[in-house]
Amino acid sequence: MNKLKTLQKLKTFKISPKNKAILLAVLVAALVAVPFIITDKYILHIIIACFIYSCLALSLNLIIGLSGQFSLGHVTFYGLGAYITALLMMRLNMSFWLALLISAVCVGIVGCLLALPTLNLRGDYIAVVTLGFGEVFRLILVNAIDVTRGPMGLPNIPKPSIGSFVFDSKIKFYFLGLVIMILVIIFMKRLTASGFGMAMLSMKEDEIAASAIGINPVKYKLWAFVIGAVIAGVMGSFYAVFMGFISPSSFQYSESISMVSMVVLGGLGGIPGSIIGAVVLTILPEALRTFSQYRMIIFGAAMVIMMIFKPNGLWGLDKRVRNIYKLNNIRTLKMKRGAKDGKSAASI
């Protein structure tokens, strides 16, 4: 009996808004303090990789989890962002910020172009088309030696700077990455709580029902690809300047697969899920390095067990905050609410 009660308590447990603010402040403070406490370059590098993959997983979650298009070509956008930024900075001596903007626009257009042929496809077919697209992109990178230097990659990508402040150390990149990730999280949170995000979700659930209430499925499918592509492209730009070296081997389809794994492990449609999935799948292979030859076995087994016991992922749509739209906008309502007499036609 007691056990049941505590279980019920746990289920109805809610964090009050005030405590939530405190928790958030503590979390941000901890994230700010991290690079000063952890001075190990290797660990810091992994944390920055976590930031990158979190954003990539979030952007892919927008395409797979919210709009329901199973894309296996996410690495294309990531790689394209990296290459466009690097090339603009190296060949045209452009500043990082301008290159970032241009590459984001270009990647957005490519996202739209890739979405067009997949609009009438479903599930597995989208996966195949996007997978093929990713391979085409990689082969172009390898073979267009005049532009991309092929498999040799692009070394010595300049570091970004604001005025005389140059991002030249891991700590500085840590903060740049952190800011980008927070912005992406805020963006995703607001999107999922908006009518736009909900329309996307309803389109994913049932296209016919969504059209019957005036939602144009094509519009939302395109937008999902464009937004997802732009975020991935921005992360690619960040990756390029952070590493200082990019080559086609960083953008193989296995990257796409691992991004999909992050999204699925984390749970489709959930923002915390994608972040957890990305962090776990970035840290786990590194942590298992000591077992060298067995690590992929352990990794694979962990994934299989996860999917058997928690097929919906760690934090997916099932944990979505109910009526978030109402909760966010309820303040203006409270006054009017009591006044109306709640009589339903059904009970007349």
């Binding site: 963006f187 607001r190 999107l191 709580a193 908006s194 009518g195 736009f196 909900m198 329309a199 979700l201 309803s202 659930e205 049932d206 016919i208 029902a209 969504a210 059209s211 019957a212 209430i213 005036g214 939602i215 144009n216 499925p217 937008w223 937004i227 449609g269 749509l317 099932d318 979505r320 109910r322 009526n323 739209y325 109402k326 966010n328 906008n329 309820i330 303040r331 203006t332 309502l333 009017k336 109306k340 709640g342 009589k343 339903s344 036609a345 059904a346 009970s347 007349i348």
Partner: protein, 261 residues
Amino acid sequence: MEKVLQVSDVTIRFGGLTAVDHVSLEQYKGEILSLIGPNGAGKTTFFNLLTGVYQANEGEIVFKNTDVTKMKAYDRANFGIARTFQNIRLFTSMTVFENILIAHPGCNQEKIIPSVLFPRGMRKKRGAIIEKCQDILRIIGLEDMEDELAINLPYGKQRLLEIGRALATDPQLLLLDEPGAGMNGFEKKELTNVVRFITDVMQKDVLIIEHDMKFIMNISDRIVVLDHGTKIAEGTPSEIQSDEKVIQAYLGSGTFEDDDE
């Protein structure tokens, strides 16, 4: 009387099968029109033609004095034709309230930039939308269940919720595809009240497909009978009840009595 909907000679073929064959009908403002017919008569296909799920091979559909024959489904919904589905199609991972909310044009036509950059500035507008949706929940009598997931509702309530969702699009014409299927007597009474409220108080026009003859005879102003894709009769409930062709289509012979399931 003013015509809301004018369908002339609409035909659709699937391969060799003509599912709807030169059907014409008109609906006048403020009336409840019913569409009945034996299974496979083409009633739902006809609905799909009206709402744009299928495009007609021939014929013309005029709604509010505009030709909508070539319009896409979502455009027709925004233009004022809303529907429910025979096999319930609710958004199952969303709550009761969200199912209504997402159908409200103010919510589903939200632009991406203001909703991401200035969500606070939209509070007032969104507040008004929420109010509107809660009113609709009151009409269908589900105001106490707004936080429940749609899939957890009992069957009859799910049907009501679908009507609510269609209402939230603020339509002029409401197409109900077997709204009473699977409902018990009490729920059907609720349904009748809701449909009456929609036509009498909200001033909307309703087109119903239904098999329950008691319900149909009780609620409709006029009835159109389809059989094998063609219209075989049209008239008031009493006219239809005594129509030879209709009786033959349904039974071969006999009457409509005790169709209580």
